[in-house]
């Protein structure tokens, strides 16, 4: 800071300027190197993140693809020693279980999510949100034991209903949180618009808010379904598995993950092959659900100019 006689413009020390220029030139090389390094690290991390999936799919395809045929989807398992047979009952059983789980998990989860989003500050909402997170982190085997204790033991037998309820209970926190997040994204202005037109609060929530958030909620629901489609532990003590064709809700039911588990721990090569194929089909099922979820996100009136 030189405050000598008033020059026409402030004097700058060219020496300092040159030094600064030199210094930035030095750091520029270093900054570029660090930048390249960091970018490289991130590329590697991004690739590693999807590597497990690629490995799994590749391995499953190699081991299981040969056993997949139409028979696999339609036929029943064959007794040990006989070649062939399929997992028709397990695939159907998984769909039944997902149906029961959705019938329980979706309405409760969406309702709870709507409540959490609309009453975000209330004490009850805060506790429900916390407990829902805890439930989300609950090991699935615990859920299975719980369902066994309360649904299987009193009735005296394993059943599809018990399995579906166990899976549904696992869905609830997943659906609750995604629903809440989606509803929070609905702009306040839309809510205000409906209220200013004379809509009551609950009506505003059900029509405008829920409608606007619907694509996101559907996506969240499907992701939750995909998540629980592969759950094995909750089914071990509840749905139990079934060698035969059964879709009855009050009977033990077969499910893909259970069948894979049972076949994989068996000592027979033929069953091992079927287990690989089952795993491939299960992954395919999850993939299809995820694709539907992505498709559902595209809303009819979304986007457009504003």
């Amino acid at each position: 800071m030189t405050s000598s006689t008033a020059p026409t413009r402030p004097r700058r020390d060219t020496g300092v300027r040159r030094a600064t220029a030199l210094r930035t030139a030095g750091t520029l090389t270093r900054r570029r190197a660090v930048n390249a390094l960091m970018q490289g690290v991130m590329y590697v991390a991004a690739l590693l993140a999807v590597l497990p999936l690629l490995l799994i799919v590749w391995h499953l395809a190699r081991e299981g693809a040969s056993s997949i045929s139409l028979d696999f989807f339609t036929r029943m398992p064959k007794p040990v020693g006989e070649v062939g047979g399929g997992m028709g009952n397990a695939i159907a059983g998984t769909l039944v279980l997902l149906g029961v789980a959705s019938a329980i998990g979706l309405p409760i989860g969406i309702g709870a999510g709507l409540y959490l989003a609309e009453q975000r500050g209330s004490r009850l909402a805060t506790s429900v949100r916390f407990l829902s997170d805890v439930l989300n982190g609950l090991p699935s085997i615990v859920m299975g034991i719980f369902a066994w204790q309360f649904l299987v033991r009193p009735l005296g037998h394993f059943s599809a209903t018990a399995g579906g309820i166990a899976l549904g209970a696992m869905m609830i926190p997943l659906v609750t949180r995604t629903t809440e997040e989606m509803i929070r994204l609905v702009p306040t202005s839309l809510r205000e618009a409906a209220l200013a037109l004379g809509y009551t609060r609950w009506r505003t929530s059900l029509t405008v808010v829920l409608r606007t958030a619907l694509p996101g909620i559907v996506t969240g629901a499907l992701v939750a379904v995909a998540r629980i489609a592969g759950e094995t532990a909750p089914l071990l003590f509840t749905a139990f598995g079934n060698q035969f064709w059964s879709l009855a809700l009050d009977q033990p039911i077969s499910a893909l993950p259970l069948q894979i588990f049972n076949y994989a721990i068996s000592p027979y090569d033929e069953w091992h092959r079927l287990a690989w194929a089952g795993a491939l089909v299960l992954i395919g099922l999850v993939l299809i659900i995820s694709l539907i979820a992505r498709y559902a996100t595209r809303s009819r009136y979304g986007g457009g100019g504003d």
């Binding site: 202005s189 205000e192 618009a193 209220l195 200013a196 037109l197 004379g198 009506r203 009136y301 979304g302």
Partner: protein
């Protein structure tokens, strides 16, 4: 579905709003201080003042939109046609049908143009398709939008331009057949041509209803309003006929604001 309750005959023409020592608090913070203001029917009242002066708060007090925010309270009275807006027996749903509101940022629903306008009447029990068609057409005509959208009523409202969406929001409010129309900076995000259209629209609409408009655009206030109220720091500094206000304001602060010396 609520059936309209016949209103008691009042000495004033329908749509008169009157605030008496009206104060408003966000929690501990007082936002409005003892406002006395009367907004006559079939005229345009403009609220001007720097940001945060309470004009929007006051506007939202007229259809009780502020009461949605937890922790708020008010004192004093706000009368619509002589009835206390905040009285226990005043149904807020009916109130908001009588007092329509248009917001700064147009907020058309992600639905078709038709459904946007039909939104309010549907809840009032206008279920018959022909009746609804009539309401929608007349509301769109009153909002000077009908000619532009009559061939695309089933298309998404979000495909309209900003100015069109804002007029759609006005049409949506008009479909409820309100006595009062509140506008919270309706043109602040619009280009001059769209703004002009809205201003012309307001000029026509004031023949039928009470209009209250918050604006940051002083020229706009001068152009569209019959009465102007100047707010500053939660207080009503001056209220007068717009012409007088912009030519010979009584208060020094009003003059300073109008001539652009602050705010």
């Amino acid at each position: 579905m609520t059936t309209p309750v016949p209103r008691p005959p009042s000495p004033v023409p329908p749509g008169t709003i009157e605030a008496r020592t009206f104060s408003f608090y966000y929690g501990e913070k007082q936002a409005l201080f003892d406002l006395d203001l009367s907004m006559p029917a079939r005229s345009v009242t403009a609220f001007i003042g720097p940001s945060g002066c309470g004009k929007s708060t006051f506007l939202r007090g007229i259809n009780r939109m502020n009461a949605l925010i937890p922790g708020t309270r008010h004192s004093g009275t706000m009368l619509l046609d002589g009835e206390d807006l905040y009285a226990r027996e005043m149904d807020v749903v009916q109130l908001r049908q009588r007092v329509g509101m248009v917001f700064q940022r147009w907020n058309a629903f992600p639905k078709s143009i038709y459904d946007n306008v039909a939104y309010g009447p549907r809840i009032n029990g206008a279920a018959a398709r022909t009746e609804l068609d009539e309401i929608v057409e007349s509301a769109l005509r009153r909002a000077a939008l009908w000619d532009e959208v009559k061939d695309r009523l089933t298309q998404s409202a979000l495909g309209l331009s900003g100015g069109q969406q804002q007029r759609l929001c006005i049409a949506r409010a008009l479909a409820n057949d309100p006595e009062v129309l509140l506008l919270d900076e309706p043109c602040s995000a619009l280009d001059p041509i769209a703004t002009l259209k809205i201003e012309e629209l307001l000029y026509e609409l004031k023949a039928e209803l009470t209009i209250v408009i918050v604006t940051h655009n002083l020229q706009q206030a001068a152009r569209v309003s019959d009465q102007t109220a100047f707010f500053y720091l939660g207080r009503l500094v001056e209220v007068d006929a717009t012409e007088r206000m912009f030519t010979s304001p009584r208060e020094e602060r009003t003059e300073a604001y109008i001539t652009g010396r602050f705010g």
